[in-house]
């Protein structure tokens, strides 16, 4: 096992634990926005797609890259906006 892999595994495991800790406190009322917000966070896959761009050089590679970029951008842009829309409703309600 390389030191890099060990470091990555450590980060992965600790992030899982942080995730469990942070999310287990969210009340049932907010479960849908939470899921939608978490959904937007995995839109970080767009960063991965961008990094992938450095290693493609064939026509098939470019096609794959474009599709992946489409998917990831849809995930990240739509995810955040829809979550914000949902949470706006919750806020206006608690004021009235």
């Amino acid at each position: 096992m390389t030191p890099l892999l060990l470091a990555d595994l450590t980060v992965f495991t600790l992030s899982l634990l942080v995730g469990f800790e942070v999310i287990s406190k969210v009340p049932a009322t907010l479960h849908t926005p939470l899921m939608s917000g978490a959904n937007a966070i995995h839109g970080v896959v767009l960063v991965g797609v961008m990094l992938l761009a450095a290693s493609v050089s064939t026509a098939a590679g470019y096609a794959l890259l474009a599709v992946a970029a489409f998917f990831a951008a849809m995930n990240v842009a739509g995810g955040y906006v829809v979550t914000d829309r949902m949470l706006a409703m919750f806020r206006s309600r608690s004021r009235s």
């Binding site: 978490a38 995995h42 998917f71």
Partner: protein, 462 residues
């Protein structure tokens, strides 16, 4: 490590911190929106930084820039339009669709990346398997929720045999990729098998089990993204993927517990009810019917009313009618609240979003623990399209709902149930609440029934 690399790593670390803090702020309605924005800011910073890294590296061909820009722009527009126009009742299928494309993108990364180390090969295989299953599975789930794919459990003949075959093929190809440098061709084969497996996994699952399935698929996508992070050796992907994986896992567990069903049984599928009326009719012995007008009068002269919305209300999109009725009752001085079971609706917490959209005051939305102690002091419990989650049989051992957390509706002084028929819920048993002497049944669609009650309220109790 050069200064540039150090700065990039530190910025990525700050982004990851934003994700964690953002999720943490989602603990309370008052800060949740800020949380989402903190998370979005982190995401924007991560994407910008990556763009700078690409320019700095200078290895990218013009064609690759074009592919990124065109794909990215198209996806952004599609995502923004979908997010702007979606109706709150259609939220579950949209979340499911975003989940699908996220998983798809993660799988494509593994397919497109040259894998030369064993670590990269192993994680690439995992990424393609999980990402592929999530992509097709979430699309089917989204189709079921949108009504484009029938919501009832669809049993594929020989489905289990085919699944086992697919698993074997995947394992064989995995060995080929990892042990013998099978490369892209092997991964592409795995992708095809994973896509088929995703369809087979989701088709047999019924509409009522969807909250569990969406949560599970959400966890899958997170894991797939983390695997893509291992393939690319990119820390932000690993951290964010793990966070989402944890979120999905927790929600899956919560939902499965609230439905009193092991996750395995849900995946095995074939039990959940669809959107249509259940086929099996319950026994009619001891069931009392009530007319709309009588029910309206009973509500009008009650001191405290608890509305118990269930899957039927979400399916009939009757949240506005429910809130209108509640407002009319409140105006008459009746104390009104909503008792919301964790699995009411079509995704975790969906009922809260629906009622919030219809402008139900936040303080009136009570969860299981908050609402149960109050039923004893409730004059009328109005159950709208909820079934198994109100069945008192859950308190006794020896039946399919035993041990399931239920709303103590039967402790209210009287109960009115709006339901289309005496059909069974997914548990497939009679609901003892319906034959309770203090329960009256109002046979109607949730939307029509609530609308009728409101009209009756205005007509008979002005």
């Amino acid at each position: 490590m050069s200064t540039f690399d150090t700065v990039v790593h530190l910025v990525y670390l700050a982004c990851a911190t934003c994700f964690v803090v953002g999720l943490h702020l989602m603990n309370a309605p008052a800060t949740a929106r800020r949380g989402n924005r903190v998370s979005a800011a982190g995401m924007a910073a991560a994407i910008l930084t990556t763009a700078v890294v690409l320019v700095h590296g200078g290895h990218i061909t013009a064609s690759a820039w074009w592919a990124l820009a065109l794909g990215g722009a198209g996806g952004t527009i599609a995502g923004l339009v979908a997010a702007r126009v979606v109706r709150m009742t259609a939220m579950p299928q949209l979340v499911s669709l975003f989940n699908a494309v996220g998983g798809g993108a993660a799988a494509l990364i593994a397919l497109g990346h040259r894998t030369d180390t064993t670590t990269a090969e192993v994680t690439a295989v995992l990424d393609v398997v999980i990402g592929g299953v999530t992509f097709s599975g979430s699309l089917i789930a989204s189709g079921k929720l949108a009504g484009r794919v029938p919501g009832r459990p669809l049993v594929v003949p020989g489905g289990r045999l085919i699944s086992a075959g697919l698993a074997l093929v995947t394992a064989a190809l995995g060995v080929l990729v990892i042990g013998f440098d099978g490369g892209v061709a092997g991964l592409a084969g795995i992708a095809v098998a994973a896509l088929a497996a995703g369809v087979l996994l989701t088709l047999p699952i019924g509409g009522a089990d969807m909250p569990v399935v969406i949560s599970l698929l959400n966890a899958f996508t997170g894991t797939a993204v983390a695997m893509a992070g291992f393939v690319l050796e990119s820390t932000p992907l690993i951290i964010a993927g793990a966070l989402v994986g944890a979120a999905g896992a927790i929600l899956t567990k919560l939902m499965a517990d609230a439905m009193n069903r092991p996750i395995g049984a849900i995946i095995a599928g074939g039990y959940g009810t669809g959107d249509a009326i259940a086929v099996t009719a319950g026994s009619t012995a001891g069931v009392r019917e009530i007319t709309l007008d009588d029910a309206a009068i009973q509500l009008a002269y009650a001191g405290k009313v608890v509305i118990v919305p269930g899957y039927g209300l979400a399916a009939a999109q009757a949240q506005h009618e429910a809130v209108a009725l509640a407002e009319a009752l409140t105006a008459r001085g009746v104390q009104v609240s909503y008792a919301i079971h964790p699995v009411a609706g079509r995704m975790p917490g969906h009922m809260n979003v629906l009622l919030a959209e219809a402008n139900a005051p936040y303080e009136q939305l009570l969860d299981l623990e908050e609402s149960n102690p109050g039923f004893g002091r409730t004059d009328v419990a109005l159950v709208v399209g909820a079934n198994d989650v109100t069945n008192p049989a859950a308190r006794r051992p020896g039946n399919p709902v035993s041990g399931m957390p239920i709303l103590d509706v039967d402790k209210a002084r009287s109960v009115i149930v709006i339901k289309r028929s005496l059909g069974h819920g997914y548990a497939g048993i009679d609901n003892e609440l319906y034959s309770d002497p203090k329960t009256a049944m109002l046979f109607a669609d949730a939307k029509a029934g609530l609308g009728g009650l409101l009209a009756g309220l205005h007509a008979y109790a002005p």
